[in-house]
């Protein structure tokens, strides 16, 4: 693997996670618990789409085969997608969506903080710009998890269930392979083992403030670095890509 190929792969992973999380959050459109939250969730989806546009465009340029951001988004199947597993999991109830956002945004905050110092100027600039929105997503999610955890008996039970169910998918975010190693050596990628402790500490703090138990099971589902996904991604792509598959090259 050349450095260029690794960077393509790395950028694709970041872009895919953003895009798939955006698609999930956009499913809340018109279904939010209150109008204000509906706007917040779809706002976040737009932030993620914007980020994925930049990343997938850059990935296409790195690959050098003339693929645009749209081609990468709409003409790959699930075994060609490299988003982390957490991003593709179904929205569930509002508690599940907030816990998923908390886990992902806490990861992204550490990732993009470190990525600001990347030797790759495009990724460093994107990281700097992205951090502002990530800070907001994280605060919003953490506030809600704390609020739900300390709310009613039902909200507490539901958000605890969400934490328990999503926990085994958090390890996948921190998995690294040859791509990461090659780019870490070139000071381009972030060594995810260095941000794991920060993520752990932060999440422990939020769960404690929310009066929630941190799961003790250590089994972690992995696979996204090899494009092995849960059964949910195929269905998500089926909906997201429907129009381009039914009417190739359709524009509006």
């Amino acid at each position: 693997m050349t450095q260029q190929e690794a960077l393509f792969q790395y950028t694709l992973r970041l872009g895919d996670t953003s895009l798939i999380h955006a698609q999930r959050l956009s499913e809340w459109c018109s279904n939010g618990p209150i109008l204000e939250e509906d706007l917040a969730l779809t706002n976040f989806a737009l932030d993620f789409i914007g980020r994925s546009q930049v990343l997938l465009t850059y990935a296409g340029a790195l690959e050098g085969k003339g693929r645009t951001d749209d081609m990468l988004a709409y003409r790959r199947n699930e075994r060609q997608y490299f988003n982390c597993l957490l991003a593709e999991l179904p929205n569930g109830d509002f508690g599940v969506t907030m816990v998923r956002l908390l886990f992902l945004a806490a990861f992204e905050k550490e990732l993009f903080t470190a990525l600001q110092n990347s030797e790759d100027e495009t990724l460093a600039a994107l990281a700097k710009k992205t951090l502002k929105e990530v800070r907001y997503h994280l605060e919003h999610a953490a506030d809600w998890v704390i609020r739900l955890g300390n709310g009613t008996e039902e909200s507490h039970a539901r958000v605890q269930k969400a934490v328990n169910e999503l926990w085994m998918f958090t390890g996948d975010m921190f998995d690294m392979d040859e791509t990461d190693k090659l780019l870490i050596a070139a000071d381009i990628a972030v060594d995810l083992s260095t941000i794991k402790t920060k993520w752990d500490n932060y999440i422990s703090g939020v769960l404690e403030a929310a009066n929630l138990q941190q799961p003790t099971s250590s089994y972690m589902q992995s696979g996204s670095k090899n494009a092995i996904h849960t059964e949910y991604l195929g269905h998500l792509l089926g909906e997201m890509q429907y129009l381009q598959l039914a009417y190739p090259y359709a524009k509006w």
Partner: protein, 96 residues
């Protein structure tokens, strides 16, 4: 009567640039101050307008009634000497 399941109502004021007046934007529902600011941001500042947000519990605002409008505002309308345009400009005063 059915129970109101909405959060409390908050009035939102936003400042478009440093030093400018805070202008009323509308209202949002929220259970606390912080949520009110976040909801105000997401509802009224989606395209980056604004430098600062105020939120005020709607029930903290003292409001006059429409019935009092006559009493409060009408007396000013028929006294044209209350308006600066009533007075003729003195000759030679250029910078008023």
């Amino acid at each position: 009567m059915s129970k109101d399941t909405q959060f409390d109502s908050w009035e939102v004021f936003m400042q478009s640039r440093p030093g400018a007046n805070f202008i009323h934007q509308g209202s949002v529902h929220a259970s606390d101050k912080k949520m009110a600011i976040q909801n105000a941001r997401d509802t009224y500042s989606r395209r980056g307008e604004g430098t600062s947000i105020w939120v005020v519990p709607s029930n903290a605002i003292a409001a006059s009634t429409t019935e009092d409008a006559d009493m409060l505002f009408d007396p000013a309308n028929d006294k044209i000497f209350r308006l600066p345009t009533f007075y003729t400009m003195p000759e030679g005063a250029k910078h008023i």
